[in-house]
Point group: C2
Chain length 334, copies 2
């Protein structure tokens, strides 16, 4: 853009009658400047409508004020509102703290990919990842000292700050709920088991069984991939192998919907003969018929937590992983 003539430190300094160094101090919150002079600077800034040039500031200070949000192309960014929602939560928190969000939707390959290069090139002050199938890149970046936050639980134990939903607890309570409704034979359709979330939800399902003293047979544990189609396929198979099936916990709402579709087409009523619980509380959980009983996770809060964790790191504050609670939302399907 044809840059309007914006004032610089030089003119602020002149009208305030101080040096540029002092202007810089005031604008960066250095407490040591004499209050009177600081006020003069602020007045000049106000009067001239001055806005700091962040690029120049970045070059001089080494801090860009930019945080990358990295989304793997592989993820179903398209069609799944999850990622967009998390990202908007992140963005809002960062913005409140004077930082901006650089969105990178790209294949997050190995250490020599474009994303890796960008992140290593010092053009961002930190990066927020969504949990990946591999922690290699993340561990590498961490070693280089780049502040990182992972949304989702990392695979390895490398102490990388992360935020996540209480997947285990949510799945546990969903399964418990099915049992409390009288279900004797509860299957699970897992998400992509390469993700930690899917594993944790499976663990919650198993824990509920363990506590009730009934271990589910292998064939009740179906490896899905979070897609509507996989929900349908596994429901079909379950119908054949377990005619007495009376409960299903699906690792997300979409698979739950797929399963319900199959059950009803096969003449099994939901929740009459088979109860179904999903996970997410996506829009479809409310709009479908029967409406879906599901485990709600607060996706915006997840993004905000990720942003906060990044801020804390940049400020050198202490921080712990953040695990957000879930809530079982009971509707018609179970």
């Amino acid at each position: 853009m044809a840059p309007l003539l914006r004032p610089t430190y030089a003119v602020i300094a002149k009208t305030a009658g101080v040096s540029e160094a002092t202007v810089s101090r005031v604008l960066n919150g250095d407490e040591s400047v004499h209050p009177d002079r600081a006020q003069r600077v602020r007045d000049a800034v106000e009067e001239l409508g001055y806005k700091k040039n962040r690029v120049a500031s970045a070059l001089a200070s080494g801090r860009t004020g930019l945080i990358a949000v990295v989304i793997d192309d592989d993820l179903s960014v398209f069609s799944d509102p999850f990622w967009g929602t998390v990202t908007s939560g992140v963005s809002r928190v960062l913005q409140e703290n004077g930082l901006h969000t650089v969105l990178m939707v790209a294949p997050v390959g190995a250490l020599d990919g474009g994303v890796a290069h960008y992140l290593k090139s010092g053009e961002v002050d930190g990066a927020i990842f969504f949990v990946l199938h591999s922690d290699i890149l993340v561990n590498h970046l961490k070693k280089q000292g780049l502040p990182l936050v992972i949304t989702g639980t990392p695979h390895s134990n490398a102490d990388i700050p992360f935020v996540d939903t209480d997947n285990f607890g949510g799945a546990y309570s969903a399964t418990k709920h099915l049992m409390s409704q009288g279900c004797k034979k509860v299957a699970i359709i897992t998400g992509d088991i390469g993700t930690t979330a899917a594993k944790q939800r499976l663990d919650g399902y198993l824990q509920a069984h363990r506590e009730s003293g009934t271990l589910p047979s292998k064939s009740l544990i179906c490896e899905g991939d979070y897609s509507f189609e996989s929900g349908k396929a596994h429901a079909q198979k379950l119908l054949e192998t377990h005619p007495d099936l009376d409960g299903v916990f699906a690792s997300n709402d979409l698979m739950a919907m797929g399963a319900i579709t199959v059950f009803e087409n096969a003449g099994k009523s939901v929740p009459g003969q088979i109860r179904v619980v999903g996970f997410d509380d996506a829009l479809i959980a409310q709009t479908s018929r029967p409406s879906l009983t599901t485990v709600r996770q607060d996706v915006v809060a997840l993004g905000e937590a990720a942003g906060s964790l990044m801020i804390a790191q940049l400020n050198g504050q202490d921080f712990e992983p953040i695990i957000l609670p879930t809530e079982l939302v009971i509707r018609e399907s179970a």
Copy 2:
């Protein structure tokens, strides 16, 4: 991050045996450099794993390599996958052209809001907006020479480059389809009529009626707001005022679903007694029962088109508004 010692022009210049100016020329694609020397520079870059410092580059050149994607907080960024999907399309195209996407989710207020300041401060080379209720800010920025692209059709005629789906054509063909299926009385549930998309879809609906020589009564035109609830509310009202209603075109899939829910609860079968067509081809269109006949728009392509239009502008190339075609997807509901 503790910046690793990255090479600078100084060391590239030295190992290639040329001046820094020459390094700059080669890296910026200046054709005038002698091929041999250019090659020496490229070799040095390769050998040293050099990556240009974009911040320094930005300060010196005035170009930041950053494009803002501005999303109004008001929009249902949360829960509606539309915005995230468009944005990922934008991001991909920009990335291929060496630009990065800065995501701003914030209240896009008047000329003195934070977003306005940021965009005016020269920290981005351009901005992509989603169509707003008002064009004021956009017109203002345009006057300042900031390259802009609008996703959606602008309200005013200010010649701002935009990309949009063929809302008129999509609605027209949806309505025609209902008529061709024998519907005699077709209502419309519009989107938020403050949006140009909602108006255009209404126009398409009206045009189809005009051509068939039957103008719909006022009470068949219901002002919705794109929400599931408004779909339900208007369907309820229609049921009371028009017992002989046999077709509904809803301006998005969510409202269509709301309407179907109400119709079926009232004992009206879809499509048996009332046919319903939606708009978007969102995920729910496929997963619902009955599955939804709808107007598909290619949301990723919309984002990519917006990105391309921005690139064209930055390169000083000619460009025209881009209107993407829609496709009527026939499923069970009509």
